[in-house]
């Protein structure tokens, strides 16, 4: 059977499962809509969190990015996993004990101020919208590459599916589809990785395989071989850094803290039954994420070695079939500059090959000659990763509007039924806006998605942590900290990414830190400003200190 038939079958089956779950999990109350009724088990929540977290970027792009960045790719590997330690130790159990529906709600209540709530809503919407646009685009891209439909039609199909289960089932529908999506995406990621690991090193465990000797060249370690190949072509050694280490440090920290501050991740911990389950499900989520995250660097090393060996300095007339297929999609380009008929890949002006990073995962099964059903599986996995993250983000957006803005600020008299209708309507509009950006992606989306973490690190993380661990922190301090933190982050991003305020090059970076890593600086500034402003303003009311005391201990069970 052809790749395309397999893809239709496998994608068809997985989509039917998602729709079936949506119909089964229709909700009647706001509590079910926002937090799945608050009785999700630790394992189900761990799986849902893992799928929620691992986006199209983790599934499709990350291994490819690492494969080109080598050691530097560690910023994503550590940054997007280490944040869960912060989440489990500093945030999740206490937010669960607090027991409300959204992150702005915690900030608004803890800092006894609707202004704090509004600042938090603004940050949540800014972070979530930039993030979700990338997901819908990802859905469109997977559809167009594997099923050869138009990208726009792919985006619309994705919108309809998400719309169906998010509007009908709210958080409950999202949670159980995410459980199914985790299974699909992890299976789809691991199968080709294991096959390729066996092919190249004879070791079925990819995590060990990329530290093993090659089958093709006895007593040569794969990574040593890769270091040599890289150097021969004029690239940096694979296992060494190209970015300055201070920037690696800053980016890793910003991604970790940003992960812990992302509303769509935090809100998942509102859905479990009890405090101890919040801690446990953070551990399970990270374990399930780590399966993919420890495999990705192996896939990266295998794919890069394979690519360099099968393509570089080979005659164009002898290249394998997959190369020509992916050339049609524009993801691989060969331009024979010196007309010698050979593919010359190098790190200087004589380079004749352009390889899109995404191809490292998308085309990997074909490069390694794996069966057609494995290729189709990768398509279904990419869709699962993109849809699950999009749905989680859309829920944050709809809850921010219907709960934080309508119910808590502008129209508190609204009935539960009315709020549920408002939640569904805002989910509907959120999907439409996300779809619009998916079809007409503004040029800045790619740049801003990476910076969503910086924004979350600069705004939410300090406010929430101090809200729990520092009783004296008052509303003036928290609001000032969030505003200064997020403004500084936006300023730095506009200056160095978009050339506002005089722009600047790499040499002008403050402390040598890139915009991607600047969230760590903005976070520190947030903490400092909060502290100073607090010292000069009125103390936290006793009533609020009692609330903090209360969230610090788990409930009596």
């Amino acid at each position: 059977m052809s790749i395309q038939s397999w893809t239709y079958i496998i994608v068809g089956i997985t989509f039917s499962i998602y729709i079936g779950i949506a119909i089964w999990s229709r909700v009647q109350s706001t509590k079910e809509f926002y937090v799945a009724g608050g009785d999700v088990g630790a394992w189900a929540n761990g799986m849902a969190t893992a799928a929620d977290w691992m986006s199209a970027a983790s599934f499709i792009s990350m291994a490819g990015i690492i494969s080109f960045a080598g050691y530097d790719g560690a910023v994503y590997l550590m940054g997007w996993t280490g944040g869960y330690v912060l989440l489990a130790l500093l945030l999740a159990p206490y937010l669960r004990k607090f027991g409300k529906f959204t992150v702005p709600e915690f900030i608004g209540d803890r800092y006894y101020s609707n202004n704090a709530r509004l600042v938090a809503v603004f940050c949540a919407l800014l972070v979530s919208f930039t993030y979700v646009a990338g997901q819908m685009r990802g859905v469109g891209i997977v559809f167009s590459r594997f099923l050869e439909v138009d990208i726009d039609i792919g985006v619309i199909i994705g919108m309809l599916i998400v719309l169906f289960y998010a509007v009908l089932g709210g958080m409950k529908g999202i949670t159980y589809t995410q459980v199914a999506q985790y299974c699909v995406l992890i299976f789809a990621f691991m199968v080709p990785a294991i096959f390729i690991s066996i092919q190249m090193t004879g070791n079925p465990i990819p995590q060990l395989g990329f530290g093993s000797e090659l089958i093709s060249e006895h007593s040569t370690y794969l990574l040593d071989k890769l270091d040599n190949l890289n150097v021969e072509l004029g690239f940096n050694e694979y296992t060494e850094n190209t970015k300055p280490l201070i920037d690696v440090f800053a980016i890793t920290l910003a991604l970790m803290v940003g992960t812990a501050g992302l509303p769509h991740v935090i809100v998942r911990f509102f859905t479990v039954k009890k405090v101890s389950d919040a801690r446990k499900s953070a551990g399970i989520a990270l374990l399930l994420i780590a399966i993919l995250y420890t495999t990705a660097p192996a896939v990266a090393a295998f794919a890069r070695t394979n690519l360099l060996e099968t393509i570089s300095t080979k005659p164009y007339s002898e290249i394998p079939q997959w190369f020509k297929k992916w050339e049609n999609t524009g993801l691989i380009k060969f331009d024979d500059l010196n007309n010698d008929g050979m593919i010359n890949y190098s790190n200087d002006y004589s380079n004749e090959l352009y390889v899109d990073r995404d191809i490292m995962v998308l085309a990997n099964p074909e490069i390694a000659n794996l069966p057609n059903w494995v290729v189709a599986l990768v398509a279904a996995g990419g869709l699962a990763a993109a849809l699950s993250t999009a749905a989680g983000l859309l829920l944050v957006i709809s809850a921010s509007v219907s709960h934080d803005l309508i119910k808590r600020v502008y129209y508190p008299e609204i009935s539960e039924k009315g709020e549920l209708i408002a939640a569904r309507i805002s989910a509907f509009f959120a999907v439409c806006i996300a779809g619009y950006f998916g079809i007409n992606p503004p040029g800045f989306v790619a740049a801003v998605v990476a910076l969503a973490f910086g924004l979350a690190a600069a705004s939410f993380f300090p406010a929430i942590v101090m809200g729990i661990f520092y009783k004296q922190m008052n509303k003036e301090g928290a609001i000032a900290g969030m505003l200064v933190g997020i403004s500084l982050m936006v300023f730095y991003m506009l200056k160095f990414k978009f050339n506002f305020f005089g722009g600047g090059s790499v040499d002008d970076y403050w402390f040598g830190i890139s915009p991607e890593g600047f969230g760590s600086v903005a976070m520190v500034v947030n903490f400092v400003i909060s502290y100073i402003v607090m010292k000069f303003t009125s103390p936290t009311p006793e009533k609020i200190k009692k609330i903090v005391d209360n969230i610090r201990i788990p409930e009596y069970e």
């Binding site: 560690a74 130790l89 093993s212 660097p297």
Partner: protein, 82 residues
């Protein structure tokens, strides 16, 4: 000091110890000491590279489960859990 304060103090102690380990295995071994550790190898991995792309992640997972275990015991001891 009442019961809740005592509970909170022990919790803070656990968090401090675990976050120190978190920092050591990721930022210290994976980044700050990377160049030094890369002079050593286990199997085909340079050690600094391994901590940055593999080891730190395993440590993160273990840390959370250790915290879960410690806190479950603490909850039991303080009567927050049957």
């Amino acid at each position: 000091m009442d019961k809740s304060e005592k509970y909170w103090k022990i919790n803070i102690k656990y968090v401090k110890i675990l976050l120190t380990i978190w920092f050591v295995f990721s930022f210290l071994f994976g980044i700050i000491l990377k160049d030094f550790l890369n002079e050593f190898s286990i199997a085909g991995f340079k050690l600094g590279f391994w901590f940055a792309q593999q080891g730190s992640i395993y440590v993160f997972v273990i840390l959370i489960f250790v915290y879960v275990k410690l806190m479950n015991n603490l909850d039991k001891k303080f009567g927050f859990k049957k």
